[in-house]
Structures are given as structure tokens and as C-alpha cells.
């Protein structure tokens, strides 16, 4: 049983990888590859965010801060120190995000619930405001343009595969983490913090760990974004960016590991299709999101899992054929 689910999962995993890998081959225009890069990067960002929220129960409204750090690390190094700094700036950004999230984490995990959410929001807005106003250093609200990845990465197709590989490795790592003993402790932190203490583990320590890990992957997503758009701006640090990953997670389902990734696919495609067709996009996007949330309170992936589960039960008790469940 366990090995068959493992096999099934491996299959799903490779189908996803191959589907994304085929985008540049099958695409009818380069735009579809651009869209797929956005989906991959936002997907990683949303999955990393959901390690905090869905898994550990810490709703951070400030992950845009780390997304921005990843992007601005490259932008600032390239702008002030030269083009050669593009690649070194990625690990530097990740280390910076790790250090900052560790220090801020020490502060913000002292409180929980809505206070935690508000504090994360406050720090992210602070960073946004500094970036927005410090014209000489960050370019202010004009942002930084013309940041081109070096060498063969400047080729959009090569860069796409680079993004694909980095995102899949990262998501795979996060998935392993989510179902490791550490992941179980994180779930326990959400469901019953007292029990965590009873078994001799520290709630705060685990919260801090996952806060740092999630932030580092958010920064990685931010740094990958630079090569796609070739320009960065303060919006990346703004609260709406944090809000977007929350929305993606809700849409896809916060209790499913891949929920936020699917949420990213849905939201980006919807935004794109509706935005291209009408200037009244907020009405339609809002309505569709509303319908999703009302109809699928567990998120799209959550509801699919739920449906599969019910079909399975119905199939077993009613003696029906089991192949239905594969839907």
C-alpha cells in the first residue's frame, strides 16, 4: 500500500515536471514560457509560505519582505558593484534573508495569532517604505531596470529550465521536510502546542526554524523572478505581494502540500485571461475567487482529495469499480 502510493506520487511528480519541461517545446509563443516561469516562481513562493501557515499555523502577512530581499540583493549588487555580481548575489541574498529572518523571527514568534500577523506585516511595510524612499541606493519607487542574467542564462529558454530545476528541487526539498519528523512536529505545533512541550520539544525553536526556512525559499523565489522580468520594483515588498500568496494558498487549499502551487496556477492564469479580455477584471476575478472559496472551502486540491476519498468509500461499499477514483 505504502509503496504503491509512493509509486503513484512519483508518477505525479514526473508528469508535473515533464509538463513544465515541455512548455518551451510545445509553446506557440514565447509568452507561454514567460507565464510558466511566473507560475513556477509564484508556486515556489506560495508553497514556502504555506509551510508557515498551512503546516505550522503561523499566518505571516510579511513574506513579501523576503521575496523582495532576494530580488533586491541581485538588483543592488548589479547596479552598484557590476554585472559580474549577478550570480554571487543570489546566495548573498539567501544568507541575508536567513539572517534577517532569524533576527526578526526572535522578535515576532514571541507573540502568536493575529499579533504575529500584524508584526510581520509591520516589518515588511517598514522595509518597503525604506526601499521606496531611498532613491540613491534602491532607486526608490522607480525600481531598477535592465538586470540581465549573465552568460547563457541570458537566453530566456535556458533561464526557464534553470528556474524549472531550481523550483522542482526546492519544492521536493520542502515536501520532504513537510513529511519528515520535523514536519510532524510543525503540525503538532499548530494543533497542540502543549503536547509538543510534553514530548520535550520546544515550540518556539521549531517556529523559528520554519520561519527562517520559509523566508529563505521566499527569497529564492524573489531572486529567480529578476531574470524573468529583468526589472524589479518596490511592489515586490508591498503587502499586496504577501496577500497574493495567502490568496493562492486559500484557493489551492492550505492543508494540502501542493495546494498553494495549484492556487498559483489558477490565480495567475485567471488574472492573465481575464485581464486580457476586459477592463472590468476586478469584478470577474473577485466573483470567481468568491465562488471558489464558497464552493471549495478546503481549496481546490483539498476538495479533489476529499472527492477522491468519498468516491473510494462509495466504491468500496457499493461494490463499484475502483477505477473511478482515479479522477
Amino acid at each position: 500500500m505504502a509503496s504503491s502510493s509512493k509509486y503513484k506520487f512519483g508518477l505525479l511528480w514526473s508528469v508535473g515536471f515533464v509538463a513544465f519541461a515541455l512548455v518551451p517545446v510545445l509553446m506557440t509563443s514565447r509568452y507561454q514560457m514567460n507565464l510558466a516561469s511566473h507560475i513556477l516562481i509564484w508556486g515556489l513562493f506560495a508553497v514556502a509560505f504555506n509551510m508557515l501557515w498551512g503546516v505550522t499555523g503561523m499566518l505571516s502577512f510579511g513574506q513579501a519582505l523576503y521575496f523582495g530581499i532576494g530580488a533586491y540583493s541581485i538588483g543592488l549588487f548589479v547596479n552598484h558593484a557590476g554585472k559580474a555580481w549577478y550570480l554571487p548575489a543570489i546566495p548573498i541574498g539567501l544568507v541575508a534573508a536567513a539572517m534577517l529572518s532569524f533576527l526578526l523571527g526572535l522578535l515576532v514568534i514571541r507573540v502568536s495569532g493575529v499579533y504575529f500577523t500584524m508584526l510581520t506585516l509591520a516589518f515588511a511595510q517598514l522595509a518597503w517604505q525604506v526601499t521606496f524612499k531611498w532613491y540613491d541606493f534602491t532607486g526608490g519607487d522607480d525600481g531598477i531596470q535592465g538586470i540581465i542574467a549573465p552568460g547563457i542564462l541570458a537566453n530566456k529558454m535556458v533561464y526557464y529550465y534553470f528556474v524549472l530545476v531550481v523550483v522542482f528541487i526546492s519544492v521536493w526539498f520542502l515536501k520532504r521536510l513537510a513529511y519528515s519528523p520535523f514536519g510532524l512536529i510543525l503540525r503538532c505545533v499548530q494543533q497542540n502546542p502543549n503536547r509538543v512541550r510534553f514530548i520535550g520539544r520546544s515550540v518556539k525553536m521549531n517556529q523559528l526554524r520554519i520561519y527562517v526556512i520559509s523566508s529563505v525559499f521566499a527569497a529564492l523565489a524573489g531572486s529567480l523572478m529578476v531574470g524573468v522580468d529583468n526589472s524589479i520594483h518596490t511592489d515586490m515588498l508591498f503587502w499586496t505581494t504577501s496577500g497574493e500568496v495567502i490568496l493562492m494558498s486559500v484557493l489551492g487549499g492550505i492543508n494540502q502540500f501542493f495546494g498553494p502551487f495549484v492556487g498559483a496556477v489558477i490565480l495567475i492564469l485567471l488574472e492573465d485571461i481575464i485581464g486580457a479580455k476586459t477592463e472590468f477584471w476586478p469584478i470577474f476575478l473577485g466573483t470567481i475567487v468568491l465562488i471558489f472559496v464558497i464552493l471549495f472551502p478546503k481549496g481546490v486540491v483539498g476538495e479533489i482529495q476529499h472527492l477522491r476519498h468519498r468516491l473510494k468509500i462509495a466504491g468500496e461499499s457499493g461494490g463499484r469499480h475502483e477505477t473511478h477514483a482515479s479522477a
Binding site: T28, S29, R30, Y31, N34, L35, H38, F132, K133, Y135, G140, D141, D142, G143, Q145, G146, D229, N230, S231, H233, D235, M236, E271, D272, I273, I274, G275, A276, K277, T278, E279, W281, P282, F284, T287, I288, I291, I294, L295
Partner: protein, 417 residues
């Protein structure tokens, strides 16, 4: 339960299908991909730009198009978000295969889109974003701007203040403008130009409230306490309206001269204020509905009113100019595909626009790709010919287009970057 779900799913499907109309595929089209904000506080700028661009296209296509081509434009709401606009621009270039990128109200979005234009070697016609950087520091050969930038309006502003000193001696200035690049660069540019023209003055205070600030009371009382001779203002859109409404209640306009040379004279202000608009404010904008009093401008304003039911704000004329610039360039080259030839055609292009007075024709400076136009600064006075506005600008002072260009040393310094 499942029935309800089905109904809702059907609803979603219908909603999606509604938008997936098939694109009409005609041959021989000049395809233009436009991005404007259609929502939020700058939404009116976008709506007016779209209406004016469509009007210009109908006029041109009505006469049979250019060089055997019809003009075709698609619009997308840029949401005033640079990242989203970059994605839209990419889509325009790779899926819709547009020949020109077009539009943009926010300079931040403009800076991001100009990068896409440069990478993909697709010409970008900027219609209504004023940041001087785009034609100086961030200059790239595929970018052209068809409305004045803040440097031009602030140069005209400095000239006005210099002349004013002779008629009505003034010594001190206070500046107020939004706290982002647009607000900061106007202050810098007016100071630079006042210094260049040898005007002796003192900047006694400056205030930079955040963009879309709802309450200016504390700024207004501070400004009144500072007692400047002239208040130079750098707001745009709804911010100007809110500030003037609130400042009027404090009698600010009786205590100092209100001077707003970049976007203050926008018709949006006059129509939003209606009877409350104070007289005697010194304002300008990139286009005026009642200046120049030429056949061409009257016809443009009347036609816009006929099509939309409202008078145009200045943003509209930028978009109108952009379409005509494209049409003229394509006509010269004979096709919209050769971008190198189109750039050559656009450089130095002369184009007669509604905002050009008799005897002057706007032209695109071949060095910076910035359009060169006259600037008229006027004073608000009673005039109800453009309802709902009760005041319009008058007592015009006109500044020659050539005099508003940045001096050579500044050009060299900033274009080198």
C-alpha cells in the same frame, strides 16, 4: 448540494466563455498594444487615453488607413503595477505580435516597459508619463515620448516665475508634492531652472505628503504659517482636487500665489471643483481644452465630447498624438515591420497636433526621442463654456518649445549613464 455546485460551475464556465471571443484576423494591420490604468485613482487618465486613441484610429482608418494598412489597437489594464505591465508587454510582443507598445500613465510602469521594449527591439510610444529619466538617464533607441516631460514644464514654470518677479516681486517659495519620484523631480527641476535663469529666491520649506493622502490639513496650516510668497505644487489627479478643496477652506489662496505648472491645469480639476474652483491660480497642463483657440483644437475637443459625453483631460491628447505619430511613421516607411526604419522616421518627425498654436508644429527631438511642444501657463478665471467646469484658464503666457529643452551639459551628463 451537488446541484448547486453544478450551477456554480456552469456560471464560471459561462463567465470564462464570455471573454474568449475570437480575435479577428485581418491581413495588413498595424498592431498596437496599449497599456493604461482603467481602475483606481488614475483610472480617468486611462479611460480618456483609450477614448482618444480610438478616436484617432477611427479618423485614420476612416480615411483608408496608412500605406495600405489599417491601424488596430488592443488595450489591457496595466493595474498601475510594473510587474503586471511587463507581463502584458511580453504577451503583446510574443502572442499578439504587436508592432508598437503604447501608453502607460505611471512612470514606474513606463520604466519597466521601456526595458521590455529595449530587450525585444519593439518600439514603445510613451503617451502620458512625465518622468524625465525615460528620455535621458534611461534613454534607449526604441522609446519615444509624445507629451512634454516634467523638465519641460518646470523650465516653463521657472521662466514664468522669473517674469513674475518683475511684475510682482516675490522672494520665497514653499514646495508641496507627492512623495515619490514624480514629486521629487519636479522640485529638483524647478530649483535647477530657477538657478540657471539667475532668479534670486529662497526655498523656505518643502512638504512631501504620501501619494493619495486624504487629509492635507496639517500641511495647509504649516504652509500658511511659513508665509511663502509662492506655493509651488506638484500634485496630480485626485490629489490636486483634494488639496485645493481643503486649502480653500483655510483661505490659503488669498495669502499666497498658487503655482502648479505641470499637471495643475488639468481639466479634471476644473470639472471636479465646478463652482468651488478659486480664481487666480496659476496653472498649466500638457493640453488645454481652450488653448490654443485653433480650428484643430476646437474640433478635437468637440469630437471627444461627442464620443464620450465629457470633455477630455490632458492625458487624452497624449494618446491621440501617439496614434498620429505611429500613422505618420508607418506612412513614411511604407510598412510597420522595419523597426530600424521606423525609428529613423520617428526621429525628427513633425506632427501637427491639437495643442499646437498657429505657426508651430510639434516635433520629436532626434537625440532624446522626446517630443518638443509649446507650454502655455494660464490663470484660472470664470468661464462656463466647458461644463461642468465654471472656471477655465486664461491670460495665457506662452513658452517656446525650443527654449524648454534641457541644456547641452545636462543632456550629456544624464544620457551618458
Amino acid at each position: 448540494m451537488s446541484g448547486r455546485k453544478l450551477v456554480a460551475i456552469a456560471f464560471v464556465l459561462v463567465a470564462v466563455c464570455l471573454f474568449s471571443g475570437l480575435a479577428s484576423a485581418q491581413d495588413k494591420l498595424v498592431r498596437i498594444g496599449a497599456m493604461y490604468p482603467m481602475t483606481g485613482r488614475s483610472g480617468l487618465y486611462g479611460m480618456d487615453s483609450v477614448a482618444a486613441a480610438e478616436m484617432a484610429i477611427d479618423e485614420i482608418n476612416g480615411k483608408g488607413g496608412v500605406a495600405g494598412y489599417k491601424l488596430d489597437i488592443v488595450f489591457t489594464d496595466s493595474k498601475s503595477k510594473p510587474a503586471y505591465a511587463v507581463r502584458v508587454a511580453e504577451r503583446y510582443i510574443t502572442e499578439d505580435k504587436v508592432h508598437f507598445l503604447f501608453g502607460v500613465v505611471s512612470s514606474g510602469v513606463g520604466l519597466a516597459v521601456t526595458e521590455v521594449s529595449k530587450q525585444n527591439k519593439v518600439i514603445f510610444i510613451g503617451t502620458d508619463h512625465a518622468a524625465t529619466e525615460l528620455t535621458l538617464d534611461n534613454y534607449q533607441p526604441y522609446y519615444f515620448r509624445v507629451s512634454n516631460n516634467t523638465f519641460q514644464s518646470m523650465t516653463a514654470g521657472a521662466m514664468y516665475l522669473k517674469e513674475l518677479q518683475k511684475e510682482r516681486p516675490w522672494k520665497t517659495i514653499t514646495y508641496i508634492g507627492p512623495d515619490y519620484a514624480y514629486g521629487h523631480s519636479q522640485l529638483e527641476e524647478i530649483q535647477y531652472n530657477l538657478k540657471r535663469f539667475g532668479v534670486e529666491y529662497q526655498l523656505i520649506s518643502k512638504y512631501l505628503p504620501k501619494l493619495y493622502e486624504p487629509d492635507y490639513t496639517s500641511y495647509i496650516t504649516s504652509i500658511i504659517k511659513d508665509k511663502p510668497d509662492v506655493l509651488v505644487c506638484g500634485f496630480w489627479g485626485g490629489d490636486t482636487v483634494a488639496f485645493i478643496k481643503q486649502a480653500k477652506a483655510y483661505g490659503l489662496f488669498e495669502k499666497m500665489l498658487y503655482f502648479h505648472p505641470d499637471a495643475g491645469g488639468n481639466y479634471e480639476l476644473m470639472s471636479a471643483m465646478e463652482g468651488e474652483m478659486p480664481a487666480g491660480l496659476v496653472l498649466s497642463a500638457r493640453h488645454h481644452n481652450n488653448w490654443p483657440d485653433t480650428e484643430s483644437n476646437r474640433k478635437y475637443v468637440a469630437e471627444f465630447k461627442r464620443r464620450t459625453g465629457r470633455y477630455p483631460t490632458y492625458a487624452a491628447e497624449g494618446a491621440y498624438a501617439g496614434i498620429y505619430a505611429i500613422a505618420k511613421a508607418v506612412e513614411k516607411v511604407g510598412n510597420p515591420d522595419n523597426s530600424a526604419a521606423l525609428i529613423k522616421a520617428l526621429e525628427g518627425l513633425q506632427i501637427k497636433l491639437p495643442e499646437d498654436p498657429e505657426g508651430f508644429t510639434s516635433f520629436i527631438d532626434s537625440q532624446t526621442h522626446q517630443i518638443v511642444q509649446m507650454q502655455a501657463i494660464g490663470i484660472s478665471e470664470p468661464n462656463d463654456k466647458f461644463p461642468p467646469a465654471k472656471m477655465m484658464l486664461g491670460k495665457w503666457k506662452i513658452y517656446k518649445a525650443e527654449d524648454l529643452l534641457p541644456p547641452k551639459e545636462l543632456l550629456e551628463k544624464r544620457m551618458k549613464k
